[in-house]
């Protein structure tokens, strides 16, 4: 069992992986110059969870702006979920966005196009 806790900065999101609950939450902007320094540890956490635990894994995202480097890293995470889903694992993504900014929904939608697992995009109230 291991928790993942990364505090947010101006250019990186807050990331919390709750091993017990099987929830990985990320919120905020993501535009670090080198996103792989940040996301490698997130990718490793997801790989370890899917490898060691039979339980479902849920991603809860409130991400806003992602630079292309973060988009590439996020795609790697969704690819892991897709692979697990194809092996019969229960995985899901819920992406919440502010209805005043449709760009976030469009971004989430482009990810969803390439995924066959449960992927919900919905608005939240401030």
């Amino acid at each position: 069992m291991s928790e993942l806790n990364i505090a947010s900065t101006q250019s990186t999101p807050a990331i919390h992986g709750d091993w017990q609950a099987g929830v990985l939450a990320m919120q905020g902007d993501s535009y670090p110059e080198n996103s792989f320094e940040l996301y490698d540890q997130v990718i490793q956490w997801v790989e370890r969870f899917l490898g060691e635990e039979p339980r479902p894994l849920a991603l809860q995202l409130k991400l806003l702006y992602l630079n292309t480097s973060s988009i590439k890293a996020m795609m790697d995470i969704f690819d892991l979920l897709e692979e697990a889903h194809n092996q019969g694992r229960e995985v899901s993504v819920t992406w919440l966005y502010d209805s005043r900014n449709e760009r976030v929904a469009e971004l989430a939608e482009e990810f969803r196009e390439d995924c066959t697992f449960a992927f919900t995009i919905s608005t939240f109230d401030e």
């Binding site: 101006q10 250019s11 535009y31 110059e33 080198n34 996103s35 792989f36 806003l64 702006y65 630079n67 292309t68 480097s69 988009i71 590439k72 795609m75 502010d98 005043r100 900014n101 449709e102 760009r103 976030v104 482009e110 390439d114």
Partner: protein
């Protein structure tokens, strides 16, 4: 020594409707700080959140491309200089422009790549973008300039413009401009 003519600079900025500009060595933290100022300006101008995000995104991709290029070429922090401006055009659309010194070959490749992008419509750009996204990342490279340029092209309301001008030291100044 020629004295600094701030009034002339001011008049140029006003005429070209420049909101924000920067010239000099650009660091990671400076990109963030200028980005913050840009977001505040856009908010003060009551830009729609989606438009503000597009302008911010294009600014980030352009400046990070310049930083990645400098890293790849082994430039010192002092040499990792950029000229960046965010302005409005006659129709009030936001224009993001950035320039930096490149080798002649890199400059020509960039000009050609942007010219090829200008022949693609939005649907073709999306396909090219997704293909680029799927390409395995090279060791040591955080991301290719190609993905950033494709992203900018997708957010632009007209084709990006480039220029390439030879400098006295044999290097070339490449500039890129996108209308959001």
């Amino acid at each position: 020594m020629e004295s600094l003519d701030l009034l002339a600079m001011r008049e140029i900025y006003n005429r070209q409707r420049v909101m924000l500009c920067f010239n000099g060595p650009i660091s990671r933290s400076l990109i963030e700080e200028i980005g913050n100022a840009l977001r505040n300006y856009l908010q003060a101008e009551q830009a729609k959140p989606s438009a503000a995000m597009d302008v911010f995104a294009v600014y980030i991709e352009m400046t990070q491309n310049i930083r990645h290029y400098a890293t790849q070429k082994g430039f010192s922090d002092q040499d990792a200089s950029a000229t960046v401006a965010i302005s409005r055009d006659d129709e009030g659309r936001y224009v993001v422009s950035a320039g930096n010194l490149v080798t002649e070959q890199d400059g020509r490749e960039l000009v050609d790549f942007v010219a090829r992008l200008s022949t693609l419509d939005k649907a073709q750009l999306k396909i090219a973008y997704k293909e680029q996204l799927r390409k395995p990342r090279e060791d040591g490279a955080s991301s290719g300039a190609g993905l950033g340029l494709l992203d900018i092209a997708r957010k632009s309301s007209s084709p990006m413009r480039t220029s390439l001008q030879e400098q006295k030291d044999g290097r070339f100044f490449f500039s890129l401009s996108a209308v959001i």
